[in-house]
Amino acid sequence: MAKLLDKQRYKCAMGAMQSVQAINRAIPILHSGPGCAQKLGDVVGGSGYFSPNIFPCTSINEKDVVFGGVKKLHTTIENALRVIDADLYVVMTGCIPEIVGDDVQSVVDEFADADKPVVFASTAGFKGNNYKGYEAVISAITGQYLKKTNVEKEKGLVNIWADVPYQDLFWLGNIQELSRLLEEIGLKANFIFGYNRGISAINRIPAAALNLLVSPWVGERNMKELEKKFGTPYLHYPVLPIGAFETSKFLRKVAEVAGADKELAEEVIKKHEDYYYYLIERYADMFLEARVMAKQFTVVADAQYTLGITKFLVNDLGLTPARQFIADDTPKEFQEAITKEFQNLNYGIKAEVEFQTDSYKIHQYIDTHDYHGYPLVLGGYYEKEVTTANSGHFLNISWPVDDKVVMDDFYVGYTGGIRLIEDIYSVVLQRWN
């Protein structure tokens, strides 16, 4: 029997063209139908040096299905190299050319001697969603563009890999804040996405002494590939550190593994915690007076945010979790480890977690569960209606995002925790004003 999926929270693998877009002066070349490119390019904050409307696309049609689209792809790459001034060209495939068997790799190989690097990421929709597509893009860049050389490792240099750009609206702010925190404890951070990064940051990847993956599962495959190719060890920190408790734990772990000065790390942690708890103390009256805002909360997001925010709301704010939903189609092999993290909360609290991609079932739960008061729901815009119908408090923290603009705001770290508190209580206080 056919299965219906209501309101999924991800795109197809070719949606990772946004990951390419997040790399300064890199451009995707799409071998797909024009509709795919048009739909996937729909994003707020997607303009800039390159925007989706100028991404070269083969715009394949029925003729290319019958006779193959490799000639058209060759011409499209050739002309893209001629007229678009980019540092890196990433050829990405949609479903159609992969179904009919276009040999894209061979076409891309013909440009091995081009002045600018051209790589190929296989991103057909049937290969997975845009989280998988992100991994394919990183794999293509590090596997095909970076050459295997015996680069001397730079002491203290750490590559940071965290959120999936654009899928996570806080991707830029988060990675910049993680970078600032690492540099405060004496490390040098390198990341490829966002302002002033791009090809120079990609070129530094092999020199890093450590790869730091801050994600429950997205990107682990890439860490293994980098370890194999460049001999770079990696630290997989599965929890997005939000708020003082998790961030201090995170910094201690990174300092230990990266060989940073532990005394300096403790000084940095103390400085941040002092300020963090100063702010918490100042607003203790608000927390007390608004204590009826929610007895229980639900987070609906990808594994990164559902886990990170659940830890924060329990460990730092002392709230009680109802059922939490992970809606990113997490691969089965990661689900057990992620579920264990939800059992590892302060005060002996355990959170129930469900891996669920069907919004109908998620909304059914929110609609029928007894939250013992106003529900607090942090999720995608899809949750707004059901939360409002249940007189709850809703905050849009995950895709799709339709009611807020995030330029470089972030939820990660000490400051990010404070920002999240501000956002939650700004919603809550509207009830009493």
């Binding site: 029925e62 003729k63 299905v65 019958v66 006779f67 179904i99 009919v100 068997g101």
Partner: protein, 140 residues
């Protein structure tokens, strides 16, 4: 299901004539068992059509070969489409967007490609066979 394919060709071996220049189309019949044969040609009687209009008024090409649809002028594209309206598809060396739109009115697919006729027909027959049987287009 048997069907017809129209081919725009000059030498009878290659697909080598643009739709807008075609004065005749070779007709291929594909039978239920996927075998195909050349069953004849359909010719556009340009002289008869031109006697009813003034092609020199076309501002695009001056001769009417582009098939422009200015008032008082013969619409050669429409005449060509009318000629092959019982075909499932047409293969020609190139075609413009207006041709695609006109053909779409009769649900006729247009494959604009330069290749051998044999190669074109083999690919098309294989494609329609998969479409008609509702099986994957995966090349296996």
């Amino acid at each position: 299901m048997s069907y017809l394919i129209a081919i725009s060709t000059h030498n009878g071996i290659d697909v080598d004539v643009p739709f807008g220049h075609a004065e005749k189309f070779a007709l291929i019949e594909v039978s239920n068992n996927l075998s195909w044969r050349h069953i004849g040609e359909r010719t556009l009687n340009v002289t008869d059509l031109e006697s009813h209009g003034d092609n020199s008024k076309c501002s695009s090409c001056g001769s009417g070969s582009c098939g422009g649809d200015e008032p008082g002028r013969v619409d050669l594209h429409a005449a060509r489409v009318e000629l092959i309206k019982d075909c499932r598809c047409v293969v020609c060396s190139c075609a413009g967007p207006r041709v695609f739109r006109l053909l779409a009115q009769y649900n006729i697919a247009c494959f604009d490609i330069v290749c051998r006729i044999q190669e074109a027909i083999d690919s098309i027959v294989k494609y329609y066979d998969k479409v008609d049987r509702g099986v994957s287009l995966r090349d296996s």
